[in-house]
């Protein structure tokens, strides 16, 4: 993609300025450490739910899901379903008890429940690990989006996002983050739905071309394509294209396209980048068809469902927002609003992915599937309207990078300040800088990994550590500190090993690769088993005050317990 003129830059600048302005509104209100960590627990359900929505809808949701649906079809619908269903599980299992625990962070909860400093330190290390694993793709995605739309170098977007969120979070902590994120949810919802309404009406006035016919994707019209880098592609049907070196016949099979400008004739089947297998439209629309070259789709589907259903309730930056509610009942109400807000948002991405098959199939050739959302307005509408709609989507994508990064930064800095530093407001600011610099360096140094994949792994890590800790800690008296610690080490170790093996490409193809790419299906049950088994073997370590803790977690506030939090 090339620069579309001043609108995209203006959109990014506007989002950044609005973010700083809204954040400084919170800044005037933030004074105490409690303000910084949990906004002094005074956040109303709708505001808090908007903030959770704003923080949760990351680049993976705004750009990534559409890209995955575009490339791999119906199986990818489980991503948004899992992202929302995770909140139903969270509502039923942790929302109210966690708020009633009176803790500030997951490590606080672990320490209060199990009376163990060791478990606390493990939990803290995991919060930081999940936070950084989640931050890296956000920063990298920001760099790529900025480069794709405005032509700025890739590091610029990452640095820009890191600086803006550090300033905001260090300035106003959770108070600022709450307003910023709530504002960004509504911005993102507007940014994804307004262009979609226009695009769908264009599609209809086009005679509603079939989105899932028996054919594979074809070029609708003569398409000029500029490749910045060489690409290896699979060609399905022989086609003569105008290449930089003159007319060239692409024969079925593997071909290498050098950088340069290519012209494809109308009606030609779209060659696919090597890693995505071409699929006919009707196969693409069917779940479990293995469209796009997905291996073991049934296993992958269940593993994905487990990771997203259970990972959500272990994401520290989501959990920390539940501590900002005034009481357990409002924590539940907040979650209900979240279900509504997220459900509304997630109606959109799949439609972008489907429209992309018809209108921007060339992204299957370049492999830039994450760009499908941003590319559609200019391909379908064009002109000034198209440019403005694209700018709106760029604004939404940037809001996604900013809000998710702020949330991750608040929770990571919150843990660092409590466990490493002393806990004053100045320490919180120092912790914020540390929490932002490390992932920024990683994002600039590490090679680029697909947003959806990395975020999926962060979910898997959360699902196989904090999910068992919280579920057992809240509902089972028998959990002991040694059981929890062993479980965290085993679950964290196994999923971290799977993450590393996937990143380094140690195993490719076949069952082992599928098991490592989607580890939750086996790491979650293993962790539960380890926690329960070790706890049963160390019954003498059940905390003496477990009955009191259970009372505190589950009794409604109206009973008249003085919780002193």
């Amino acid at each position: 993609m090339r620069s579309s003129g001043p609108y995209d830059e203006a959109a990014v600048v506007l989002v950044v300025l609005l973010t700083l302005a809204v954040g400084s509104y919170g800044l005037r209100l933030a004074r105490t450490t409690s303000d910084f960590l949990v906004a002094s627990r005074g956040v109303s359900p709708l505001l808090n739910a908007s903030a959770i929505g704003g923080e949760y809808l990351s680049a993976a949701s705004f750009l990534g899901i559409a890209g995955l649906v575009f490339a791999y079809g119906a199986d990818m619908l489980w991503y948004p379903v899992g992202f929302v269903a995770g909140y139903l599980v969270l509502l039923m299992v942790v929302a109210a008890p966690l708020r009633r625990s009176g803790a500030y962070t997951v490590p606080d909860f672990a320490e209060a429940r199990l009376g163990s400093a060791a478990v606390r330190r493990l939990a803290s290390a995991l919060v930081v690990a999940i936070g950084w694993l989640y931050l890296v793709p956000q920063l990298q995605g920001a760099g790529l989006t900025l480069r794709a739309t405005t032509g700025a170098p890739a590091w610029a977007g990452a640095v820009l996002v890191a600086v803006v969120v550090t300033v905001n979070v260090a300035g106003g902590g959770m108070r600022s983050a709450t307003f910023v994120q709530a504002f960004q949810y509504w911005l993102k919802l507007t940014a994804i739905s307004v262009p979609l309404l226009v695009l769908v009406s264009v599609w209809q006035s086009d005679g509603a071309p079939d989105l899932a016919g028996p054919q594979g994707p074809v070029f609708r019209e003569t398409t000029t394509l500029r490749l910045d880098d060489p690409v290896r592609v699979q060609v399905l049907e022989a086609v003569t294209v105008r290449a930089p070196t003159g007319d060239r016949l692409l024969a079925p099979g593997r071909e290498r396209l050098e950088a340069g400008t290519y012209v494809f004739p109308a009606g030609a089947a779209v060659p696919h980048v090597d890693r995505i297998e071409a699929a006919a439209g009707d196969d693409w629309a069917r779940p479990l068809s293995g469209a796009g070259g997905l291996e073991h789709p049934l296993y992958a589907t269940y593993a994905l469902v487990l990771a997203t259903f259970l990972g959500t309730l272990g994401l520290p930056h989501v959990l920390v927002r539940f501590y900002t509610n005034p009481d357990g009942a409002s924590a539940r109400r907040t979650t209900l609003f979240v279900l509504a807000l997220l459900g509304t948002f997630y109606l959109a991405p799949a439609l972008y992915g489907a429209l992309g098959r018809v209108y921007v199939p060339q992204l299957l050739l370049t492999g830039q599937t994450d760009a499908v959302v941003l590319a559609l307005p200019r391909a379908m509408v064009g002109g000034l309207t198209g440019a403005l709609l694209e700018a709106l989507l760029v604004a939404g994508a940037f809001a996604a990078f900013l809000s998710t990064s702020s949330g991750l930064l608040v929770s990571t800095a919150g843990v660092i300040v409590q466990d490493v530093l002393r806990g004053s407001v100045r320490d919180f600011r120092r912790a914020t800088v540390v929490a932002a610099v490390v992932p920024l360096v990683l994002a600039l140094a590490a090679s680029r990994l697909p947003v959806g994949v990395v975020v999926g792994l962060a979910f898997a890590l959360a699902a196989s550590t904090f999910c068992p800790l919280l579920v057992l800690g809240i509902w089972w008296r028998g959990l002991t500190a040694p059981g929890a610690a062993t479980g965290l080490v085993v679950g964290g170790g196994l999923s971290a090993a799977a993450v590393l093996a996937t990143f380094t490409g140690l195993v490719d193809g076949g069952w082992p690769a599928s098991l490592l790419a989607q580890p939750a299906a086996w790491t979650v049950p293993v962790t539960f088993a380890v926690m329960i088994g070790v706890s049963l073997a160390t019954k003498d370590r059940i905390p003496a005050d477990v009955g009191r803790t259970m009372l505190r977690l589950h009794a409604p506030e109206s009973l008249g317990l003085d919780r002193r939090s």
Binding site: L88, P556, L561
Partner: protein, 115 residues
């Protein structure tokens, strides 16, 4: 300074059930256990319903592949369910859970305050 308090102090020590809860004697512990059990059973029941409805879908598509092509309202079944219907269903499930969980809590408070 910011670590959580671990003790729950009860304000009016007059009522016996409240005192039992506070001191966690046999009665108090039974009361708490019954509340936790009621809430757990509720969560597990609802989770089972959704696990059956949602978790059964991939299996249905795998066992009876023809179900993937059934057309309803211009959409195929997987897209209608996973793209649209699932979201209001999840919201309804959440709403039902909140209603029932709060009823369990009201029952618990009544039980404690009546005694």
């Amino acid at each position: 300074m910011t670590s959580p308090r671990t003790s729950a102090v009860l304000r009016p020590p007059g009522r016996p059930a409240l005192r039992a809860l506070d001191e966690q004697d046999v009665v108090g512990e039974l009361l708490v256990r019954s509340l936790v059990r009621a809430q757990l059973v509720l969560a597990l029941r609802l989770a089972a319903v959704f696990a059956f409805l949602l978790g059964g879908l991939p299996l249905l598509f795998a066992v009876a592949p023809a179900t993937r092509d059934i057309e309803v309202l211009g959409l195929t079944l997987p897209w209608l369910v996973l793209g649209v219907l699932v979201y209001p269903a999840l919201l309804a499930g959440g709403w039902l859970y909140v209603r029932l969980a709060e009823r369990n809590e009201r029952d618990f408070v009544e039980l404690v305050e009546r005694s």
